[in-house]
């Protein structure tokens, strides 16, 4: 076992340094699938470094709320990242009920991002904000039904134990677990604004969700927005990867397994994006309801 201090350090460094790699991996996968060379995997690091040096431009309509979006978004997700275990390594902070705090911290990040979009007075950003609020209202029940199913199975209210327990999987939980993960992958795609819900690469503002909410951000605030988005890919990724990973005897093996799975997840998202188009906006709620139903069935299976 690695000493606890080292584990925490590794956790913190992963949270701070790793996230920008994930969008790079996704983009690279998409490029290779399309037969292009694509930007370097580290592109987002370069972008962040560039944005950090640039002047920020603010619309005269905006107030301090405009900055609360990027700041609050990153701060809330950073706090949430302390609660989630990365694979079968302990979460730095763990207590009964942290699972609810985790979900509501994401709510806080979303609330501030929406307000920051509305602060510009732009109709496009208002549109994106409205879509974000609408779709996430459907994602929330799926998330909580999944938590409920896991809590039912192992009577824990702490993310650390709740997510890690299927690692010592018995056959009885395999079916429900697959359903939970199916539902949560949908939540993952929605929360991270990926295809088939949202297309991060589109150039038509009318059809975007997340990208259109940050049209007015520039310089360092925009760097925070981009970093926050990649952070969400990591933290929510840990949420869906941890229950799926087998438990290894050595700590370093667990870390390696987590990093490998994370890379696999990014490649998987890239493959999904390469193989299908974005849904029409009206189809998105149906997709989300599918996620809710999957997790609801998982809970029912846990009951029997």
């Amino acid at each position: 076992m690695l000493p606890a201090m080292l584990q925490f350090l590794l956790h913190g460094l992963t949270v701070l340094l790793l996230p920008p790699l994930l969008p790079g991996l996704i983009a690279k996968t998409k490029a290779l699938m399309a037969g292009r060379k694509g930007p370097p995997v580290l592109q987002l690091y370069y972008d962040l470094a560039k944005l950090a040096r640039k002047r920020a431009v603010f619309s005269r309509t905006t107030t301090w709320v405009f900055l609360a979006g990027p700041v609050g978004g990153v701060a809330a997700v950073l706090v949430a990242s302390c609660l989630v275990p990365f694979g079968h390594t302990p979460a730095p902070v763990s207590f009964q009920g942290d699972v609810i705090l985790f979900a509501y911290l994401f709510g806080l990040a979303r609330f501030l991002t929406i307000l920051s979009a509305l602060d510009t007075g732009s109709s496009f950003e208002g549109m994106g904000a409205a879509r974000e609020a609408t779709f996430s209202a459907l994602a929330e029940p799926a998330l909580f039904l999944g938590f409920a199913a896991l809590a039912k199975a192992n009577a824990s209210l702490s993310l650390g134990t709740m997510l890690a327990f299927p690692g010592s999987l018995t056959a009885r939980f395999t079916g429900p677990l697959i359903l939970i993960l199916a539902g949560w992958v949908i939540v993952y795609l929605v929360e991270n604004s990926r295809i088939p819900v949202d297309d991060p690469n589109t150039h038509l503002e009318l059809t975007m969700i997340h990208e259109v909410m940050v049209l007015d951000h520039s310089g360092r605030p925009f760097a925070l927005v981009l970093y926050g988005a990649s952070l969400k890919l990591l933290v929510l990724g840990a949420l869906i990867l941890t229950p799926a990973l087998p438990r290894a005897p050595q700590a370093w093996q667990n870390w390696l397994a987590f990093y490998a799975a994370l890379a696999g997840l990014a490649v998987g998202v890239g493959l999904v994006e390469s193989s299908m188009a974005r849904f029409r906006m009206t189809k998105v709620p149906q997709f989300l309801v599918a996620g809710v139903l999957a997790t609801a069935f998982a809970f029912l299976l846990m009951l029997v």
């Binding site: 619309s59 309509t61 302390c82 902070v93 709510g107 806080l108 732009s122 109709s123 950003e125």
Partner: protein, 657 residues
Amino acid sequence: MSLYLLALLAAAVSGVPGLFLRRRGGEVAAGLLGLAALLGLTAALRVLAGGAGGTLLLRTAALGAPGLLVLDPLAAFFSIPVLLLSFCGGLYGVGYWEGHRGHTPILCLVFGLLTASLLMLVMASHALTFLLAWEGMAIAAFLLVMAEDREAETRRAGWIYLAATHTGTLFLFAAFALLAKVQGHWGFGALPAGLAATPGGTALFALFLLGFGFKAGVLPLHFWLPPAHAAAPSHVSALMSGVMLKMGILGIVRFLSWVPDPPSWWGGTLVALGALSGILGVAFALGQHDLKRLLAYHSIENIGIILLGLGLGTLGKATGHPVMQVLGFAGALLHVVNHSLFKGLLFLSAGSVLHATGTRDLERLGGLGRTMPWTSGAFLAGSWAICGLPPLNGFVSEWLIYLGAFRGLGLELGLGRQAWPLVILVSLALIGALALACFAKAFGAAFLGLPRTQAAEQAPESPRTMLLPMGLLALACLAIGVVPALFAPALERVVGVLSGGALGGGTLAGGETLMALAPLRMLTWAAVILALLALLLGRWLRLVPQGRDLPTWDCGYAAADARMQYTASSFADGLVRGLRWALRPVAHLPRVAGWFPHPARYESHVPDPALDRAASPALQLAVRGAGLLRVAQGGALPVYLLYVLLTLLALLVWMVA
């Protein structure tokens, strides 16, 4: 006790000096209400800290009751929001009513009387005092709703409210009569074990639920609530929504505390009603573009959350699971206080907007954040709290209920009850997400972006007397949210009273304290880290030079104006459409015809089906039925005297026989 009675007296007479003073009557009233708050809070906190309460006895054998007014932990707990909000409301009223012509001193007087009735109501431990205070509260609130009775809308709202509250009272009369018949006196106290399972117990539960449900605004008995809250002056709305609705909850809580062995279906009923009120309450709120109506529907939603907690606690009590009982009741009770704090704050800031712009219509506001920074901050704090987002107080109470429900999932509740914790979880999650959408809409439309009208553009910030109460309430929200552990011992004591029997006396079964069940201290750490990170990142943003005075990027179009802005209705449109089976929105589409169509208007709103389709027709039917009785009412005095004589004779014959 005597301190508390002094507080009650101070509140009752707070408006009297204003009747005689030429000016500064409002300030004197606010001062007296402040004195009442000081005295009352001292008394209440002393009781909650474990001190002895007190009982006011009236030496009449005829009443045959243990006491008329009792200051127990439950009363002390419920009196806290009353005292805080009435003081804040009184102070706020000074600025709000400035320049308001007409009967301001009378309204000040009635405001004090309303506070006094509320203070008496929380202590009432006898059907007589309870109903007296209840009626005092109902009538005082009616007079306050009617403050701007020159407007037809206000008069309609007032009469609907009066009819609804008296229908509720009617059920209460029946309930108390039945209660007196069961226990042989009119006092309040523990009911015998086994009663709850009998038809009499069922009838009591149903009658109390109906009577108190009207007051609390439980769906579908809520129909009086949105118009009344929208029409009343804003600090009265704050007191009504923050405190008066809670008296319905107080009633249900009192009743539950008397029953040692509630059947589990009571818990199920409470959960079902809570889920219905919670989800539909916030759904209807999404459809509103009148700021105060929107807030009123959110009160229904929050009553739903409180009922979810009470239902969870009752289920735990019925099935013998103290964990669910403690967490459910604790969450529900804390949410009572929390909701009065943040809803009071929201109504006061909405009133501030109304005061400055003269409109409650979200589509006519916008951009107030720049001209009214303090009000905007207050409204943001209230929205933050009501959405249950950490680190404000709304999160703490919802978290407790969540914890109880999650714990309940793993417990053996018996067939058919296993689903209730899940219902609570999913409802809370859905309510949370919808509330977030609704308050993003309300705050965004009113305070962010470009001003949509000239009135919004030139709105002045409110005077200090209005801002101070808002700041006070916002601080209270922050305090409970950041250091909830500080308030846990008091909460434990009240939960002990409510749980009765097994958990009486403040210590909980199996040594499981609230603090052990819910690690509240961790929330403090989360709040501190969150604040530090936000400060750090905010600092980092300011280190580079910034460019200003440029237009918003509107995809290449440089002259975007307020008319192109996304409206509140458009923001909520997706969700309202998704919920149209329940909300039934009405849209007036413009008729566009010919080659050169005239300017057209589009309008949409979400009417209240409970009022338009159920309550109004029922009332009309009742009026028509009452018309039949009019035959007996000739209007001539001798005829009425004859009725009296005949009744007396009949009674005499009956007594002799």
